[in-house]
Symmetry: C3
Subunit: 186 residues, 3 copies
């Protein structure tokens, strides 16, 4: 009679496998299918650092200009960036790619930003791009944004990235630590 | 002999389950795994309402300024917003979160916009963010945009949001009704 | 005894089906569930072509204006567009929809852009929208960006789009060939 039970057991096993890899699962139990921790470094143009700047203010509200971040928590500033990505928190470490896109300061009574950018990686380990979008309540220690797509080695990937301000120097330099957890890998 | 048939029946059942929850299904039959209807309220800065404004023009074409929406259907205006989200259509209802991001007027012979923003929800029922992107042909009654990701209670969610202009007062205030239908829940 | 084996065979078959349609598969083997090749045409406003322009510079760094693309590889320019989409590479072919959104020149020592836009299609064959995001290293012949969502006939679709600069005339006109490969169709 044993053999006759095998299919049922397999079925149950399969059912659990299918379910758990996709849905119906308690959020706490998900494990990333891929995980990367990277840093990127943003040097905002301030009128005097053209050679070193990696980003520039390109949009500002009526009451502000594009050389100095706006008053009122920089509300309304759009910054375009092309920032080096490194494996550790050292600005001078070799760049393994570029973080490219924009961030927007979007609140007038606290520091929050909205991010939309790509990581373009070009190393022996990883070749491809990762797309990110999300709200960034800057004053909170860790913030989650969405990983909405990828190409190359990250073909069709999706996930969540936990970002953390790893350093902040005046209004010119900041470094973000990005803990990328892919939950959908292809 | 009955027990021997059980696995096949289960198999067929499972196969249908797997298929229908993912693909091959007639679009009309999909049912959301989660559904939220929310409203958000946008008060555009116009030079005189700094205290109440929730958004500001931060990009404009060469022929326009950032205090008044551009002529030619506002073509070229980028607006950054941090708008209160409410459960009903009353601007004075308690806010359950913020809609943060940008919209762009992108056509010069009719009113259309392009939207990229997040909902950041912070209630006892929902904690987390939802990411939206899409074209918004404003003059059409209901428009669909994409829900491309989420975090927290909306971890890895995807779906479609149907937006509707619920109120429009001059060029200063509008209210959007957002019917969020998640078809991929985790 | 044959019938008792059937379930196991079916099970194995199912397991392979489920796996191969979602994960664990070598990237090279994926085949799109839908494929579209389209072109779109961008005519940048340059101060003298208001009637024909389909896009306009709306953001620029402090050192540039919004009539002429910025020096330094246009770094910092945000362009809003509403471009006609055609089935072939002829600007005068009937438009089957509009490409709407923004591109940003984001590097100061080479030509790269960051793209975020939608295709809004309106033909007898296709009704719906497709959302795109990604980095665009313009000087490379073909570049991959992410297809992060869709509505209507592209309900919940995801994929990768390979873009190619099909024509480029001065700093006023360019035409992109977009080879959209959907790998997740609903």
């Amino acid at each position: 009679m044993g053999p006759k039970r095998t299919p049922i057991i397999l079925l149950l096993f399969m059912f659990l496998t299918v379910s758990s890899s996709h849905k119906y699962k308690n959020k706490k139990n998900y494990k990333p299918c891929k995980n990367l921790v990277l840093f990127f470094h943003d040097v905002v143009y301030n009128g005097q650092n053209a050679a070193n700047a990696t980003s520039a203010i390109v949009g500002a509200p009526e009451w502000a200009n594009r050389t100095i971040l706006a008053s009122d928590f920089h509300f309304g500033n759009i910054v375009v960036f092309d920032d080096p990505i490194t494996l550790d928190n050292n600005f001078h470490s070799p760049s393994i790619g570029r973080a490219q896109g924009q961030y927007i300061y979007d609140t007038k009574n606290t520091f929050t930003a909205w991010l939309a950018f790509s990581f373009v990686l070009n190393t022996t380990d990883y070749q491809g791009s990762i797309q990110f979008i999300g709200a960034d309540p800057i004053m909170i220690k860790t913030r989650d944004i969405s990983v909405v797509g990828g190409t190359g080695d990250f073909f069709m990937h999706r996930g969540v990235a936990t970002i953390m301000t790893d350093a902040f120097e005046g209004e010119v330099y900041f470094r973000l630590r990005v803990d990328i957890k892919f939950y959908e890998c292809w």
